[in-house]
């Protein structure tokens, strides 16, 4: 029954609750799929036996009627979430054999709701990258690839590819500058980066602490709502997690959107924007109009500074966050004649090129004499970007933009690898959301002429994911995207 893996989470739950299928049966189907789809390199660690044990426990709960909200649902976990007794690597050589003795709050929440973990998903090293090519374990292959192997996007490339190729029902992702939304767009799946503070960062390996936020990648909007409900919530172990109630997101799906004001930012339609993407954007606007939404033109004037601002702040925080990988207490160590050499050897050998680049940039922008010109200036720009959104949301309820200016490209693409800037430019529609700490969801809008998925994103007010869910559910219905 291989089509079990094609079910959405909500469809699976229905069948599980009706006892039409069992958690063990479901888990076995995914394990099979995992074997069949190894070519995508989506998983870096699999724990099928553990998953089956969890499935058996789940089965008992269904039999006794003590089943939980996500009981028996098979998930993949981005390998940035620490999972107790399961190797967690951040896809970096420096901790490629690290086994945490603790569980991240988000994954613990999912376990508490009965989820089954199949394994750990590939990502760009320490989530630094937009194509999954910086992973120590090699790039993820986009399941939509035809003749040429395409990237799955990044950094949550493994998560998006695994969901897209039915290797799990849903996956966790993290989004620092677009790392949930961009791979979701590339792989034709749906992913939401919640408001900063919505999900606990405890146990999530840090990239840039003020930007990192965990969220789900799923087959559709409803699944994202279900999964986010389980992942989210205040956590006293994370001082930046928000004491804000988590509404039942699913209850907003299907709600009427007549009169909903949808903002369209002028600045997101620069000259030379990919025509296909521009057309799909127009199409999405039309679809929302048909549903009775009101379209409002808005301005986010500081958008053009978002990328440079992001590429100062994120590396600055990363350079400090990654200082703990020094070969002393855990992870790999390369010895030297003295302490300083040990540090240098360990870090030189353990970190990949892109991570080193960002550590260098981050160290530079925080240095005495450069701090004011870079880091402090970037913080001020960040405030202006946030103010832009505050102003815009006085006129609209939710903002609609493309997720990425391009479709998935070939692994090893010459232009992308020529200069890191070319790769960074792909984040142009996503990073300002992180800088402002806002929630945003990407969903498939259709296929390009090359037959590759493209995505649209809804950006919401802080802690107003419910409006995003409401709007995207309606767009999803209109689009009726055909998954793999």
């Amino acid at each position: 029954m291989s089509n079990l893996t094609e079910l959405t989470i909500s469809e699976s739950l229905e069948k599980l609750r009706a006892k039409e299928i069992s958690p063990v049966e479901l888990t076995e189907a995914y394990i099979k799929k995992l074997e069949d789809n190894k070519k995508y390199n989506a998983y870096v660690t699999t724990v099928p036996e553990k998953a089956l044990e969890q499935a058996k426990e789940s089965e008992k709960r269904y039999m006794s009627g003590a089943n939980k909200p996500l009981d028996g649902i098979v998930l993949g976990i981005k390998d940035l979430f620490c999972t107790k007794d399961i190797r967690t690597t951040a896809c970096s050589k420096i901790i490629d054999n690290f086994v945490p003795q603790y569980e991240s709050t988000v994954t613990q929440n999912l376990l508490d709701d009965g989820a089954v973990f199949l394994g750990k998903l590939n990502l760009d090293e320490f989530a630094m990258g937009g194509s999954n090519e910086t992973s120590y374990f090699g790039p993820v292959v986009n399941p939509w690839s035809k003749d040429v192997k395409l990237v799955a996007g990044g950094s949550s490339g493994g998560s998006a590819a695994a969901v897209s190729a039915n290797m799990c029902a849903g996956a966790t992702g993290t989004d620092t500058g677009g790392s949930i939304r961009q791979p979701s767009a590339f792989c034709g799946v749906t992913g939401i980066k919640p408001t900063y503070g919505r999900c606990s960062r405890y146990g999530v390996i840090a990239f840039a602490s003020s930007l990192d936020q965990a969220g789900p990648i799923c087959k559709d909007v409803r699944d994202c709502a279900l999964m986010l409900n389980s992942m989210a919530g205040f956590d006293e172990k994370d001082a930046t997690s928000a004491r804000v109630d988590v509404p039942n997101f699913e209850s907003f799906l299907g709600q009427d959107i007549r009169g909903l004001k949808i903002g369209i930012p002028n600045e997101y339609r620069p000259d030379g924007l990919n025509e296909e993407i521009a057309n799909y954007w127009d199409k999405a606007i039309e679809m929302m109009k048909e549903k009775g939404a009101e379209i409002v033109n808005i301005s986010l004037p500081h958008t053009k500074y978002a990328l440079p601002c992001y590429y100062v702040i994120a590396p600055a925080e990363a350079s400090s966050n990654l200082a703990r990988y020094d070969g002393i207490r855990f992870g790999n160590r390369v010895n030297g004649k003295n302490m300083e050499e040990l540090h240098i050897n360990t870090r030189s050998s353990g970190f990949g090129k892109e991570v080193k680049r960002r550590i260098l940039v981050g160290t530079y922008v925080l240095s005495a004499g450069f701090y004011d010109a870079y880091y402090l200036k970037a913080q001020k720009v960040r405030r202006l970007i946030k103010n832009d959104f505050d102003e815009a949301f006085k006129k609209c309820d939710v903002i609609l933009t493309p997720t990425s200016p391009i479709e998935a490209f070939a692994i090893g693409d010459k232009k992308m690898n020529e200069s890191p800037i070319n790769m960074y430019l792909n984040d142009v529609f996503t990073v300002s959301v992180n800088l402002a700490g806002l929630p945003a969801l990407s969903l498939p809008i259709g296929l390009s002429k090359n037959g590759l998925p493209l995505g649209m994103q809804f950006i919401g007010k802080a802690f107003d994911e419910k409006t995003i869910f409401k709007a995207s559910y309606q767009l999803e219905k209109s689009v009726n995207f055909k998954r793999i």
Binding site: F81, C82, T88, A90, I95, F98, P100, Q101, Y102, S104, R201, Y202, G203, V204, I205, A206, A208, S209, S210, E236, K237, D238, A239, T240, A316, E317, S319, S320, L322, A323, R324, D326, I328, R329, F330, M339, E340, H343, T363, L366, S367, A368, Y371, Y375
Partner: protein
């Protein structure tokens, strides 16, 4: 105040400028950003959480107990409490610094300017300005002396809360710095915010020293003497460093700002490293910790928990209890001593209690090598002993014997006096009989006395006291002898 002036070979007068930075380990059950215990003396790496060793994905969560302690200290040092403060990261690599950065407060410390009053030996009081106090995490401890080729690290201390107290460059002599350290230690102990044990490292001091010619304005380069671990060494280090600098200037030399170390065995300071500014700490606000915002209610709550501090106590002892300023400040320096004193003097003559406390009692503690908490003589019993003297039940001399017994047995002095029959004899007729007997048995001395050797009166008193086994009231003895002999 006596000036502390150095004189160079050519007769120029130089003064010392000194400021202190004191790291105080905060008394709290758990560490400043984790729930691990702060217990001292546990086995290596027993008090360590995943946060303390900076495991991937671990996050700091501020322990409000440490915040409260810092606020309390600020209030105790008459300082401004900043309702908005911020944590920052000070980045550098060292094996005993697990995160690769220390969480501290740079631009926005929790406590602002304050002041401390220091009593000097000549009876004057010097005001020392506090620049700021910020809170931060301690590092682990590198251990290099277990194995010749390997180093070890104990992370028990990593993440313990510290208060860094920075003074203004207000010290002009080693004595002022020493007095300040003692006063500060006394205050934090009173407050219960730091145990102040310099030898255990729970209070560590860095001293910045420069000198300048008397009359010069502005400052010359300074050197920082790191990690001095006793008040005495701090004073010696400042003096030694000032003299070293003077010698350089005398020889027409100059020097750069640098960190130095005091070596107590040679009594000199030696070069450690170029001053911090050569370091690159890349400080920036810690994105894991939101700014710390204190409410007025919180600050008031802490203020209400404040105990009476040494300055206020001293004032009360002098004004209400009749103690001398010197006695009062000695007793107040140590909270336990002050508590003992207050208990002992309750209902009794406070001045006499103070005399006993600072005389025989301290001498006894010293001799026995015990601290006041373990004194064999309780405060209540010391008070009773003084009361027995005041009421003429026993003489001062007998009291010393009683005290001896109290030290050995811990007994109540009333009981001792009763059991041993040491009550002073004030019955005139009983004493008169002894006086008569002594006069009758010593006609020669009586004759000499009458011939003008007045100082023989003391000899007669002594004889009577001896005969009465010390129990005769010396006043009565004196009076009777004079009556009979004159």
């Amino acid at each position: 105040m006596a000036e502390y002036i150095l004189e160079s070979a050519n007769g120029e007068k130089w003064e010392v400028i000194c400021g202190l930075e004191i790291h105080c380990q905060i008394i709290s059950k758990s560490k400043i950003f984790s729930s691990a215990s702060t217990k001292f003396g546990e086995d290596a790496n027993e008090c360590v959480s995943f946060v303390d060793v900076a495991m991937p994905g671990m996050l700091p969560v501020l322990n409000m107990e440490c915040v409260k302690q810092a606020v309390k200290t600020g209030l105790g040092l008459n300082a401004k409490i900043n309702k908005y403060s911020q944590f920052s990261r000070k980045n550098y690599f060292y094996p005993d610094l697990p995160q690769g950065y220390q969480i501290t407060q740079e631009k926005h410390p929790i406590i602002g300017e304050g002041k401390v009053f220091v009593d000097l030996s000549d009876g004057s009081v010097k005001e020392i300005g506090i620049e700021r106090i910020h809170i931060e995490q301690d590092t682990g401890k590198s251990i290099h002396d277990i194995d010749p080729s390997r180093s070890f690290i104990d992370y028990n201390r990593a993440g313990v809360g510290l208060m860094e107290i920075v003074t203004k460059p207000d010290f002009r002599s080693p004595e002022e710095a020493g007095g300040f350290l003692r006063k500060l230690r006394s205050i934090v102990r009173y407050l219960g915010t730091c145990d102040g044990n310099m030898d255990e490292g729970s209070l560590r001091c860095d001293a910045s020293v420069s000198i300048r010619k008397v009359g010069e304005t502005g400052f010359r380069p300074r050197c920082e003497i790191k990690n001095v671990n006793s008040v005495k060494f701090a004073m010696q280090a400042i003096e030694a460093e000032a003299k070293r600098q003077l010698e350089i200037y005398e020889n027409g030399g100059s020097f750069e700002q640098e960190s130095r170390q005091f070596d107590p065995t040679t009594g000199t300071t030696k070069y450690m490293r170029k001053k911090e500014y050569a370091h690159e700490y890349r400080q920036f606000p810690d994105p894991d910790l939101p700014p710390l915002v204190l409410t007025d209610e919180f600050i008031e709550e802490v203020r209400n928990e404040l105990v009476e501090l040494p300055d206020a106590k001293k004032k009360r002892y002098v004004e209400n209890m009749g103690l001398t300023a010197y006695d009062a400040s000695v007793i107040c320096e140590n909270k336990e001593v002050a508590e003992f004193f207050e208990e002992a003097s309750l209902g009794h003559d406070a001045k006499k209690v103070a005399n006993w406390l600072m005389g025989d009692f301290f001498a006894m503690l010293n001799k026995k090598g015990v601290d006041i908490k373990n004194s064999p003589v309780s405060a209540k019993n010391l008070g009773k002993l003084v009361e027995l003297i005041s009421k003429d039940v026993i003489s001062g001399k007998i009291a010393k014997d009683v005290f001896e017994i109290m030290v050995n047995t811990g007994d109540d002095p009333e009981k001792i006096v009763e059991e041993k029959g040491l009550k002073q004899v004030t019955d005139t007729s009983a004493i008169e009989a002894i006086v008569d007997e002594i006069i009758a048995n010593n006609p020669d001395n009586v004759a000499s006395y009458k011939a003008g050797k007045n100082n023989l009166l003391g000899w007669f008193v002594g004889q009577v006291m001896k005969q009465s086994q010390g129990k005769a009231n010396p006043g009565v003895v004196n009076k009777l002898l004079k009556e009979k002999l004159d």
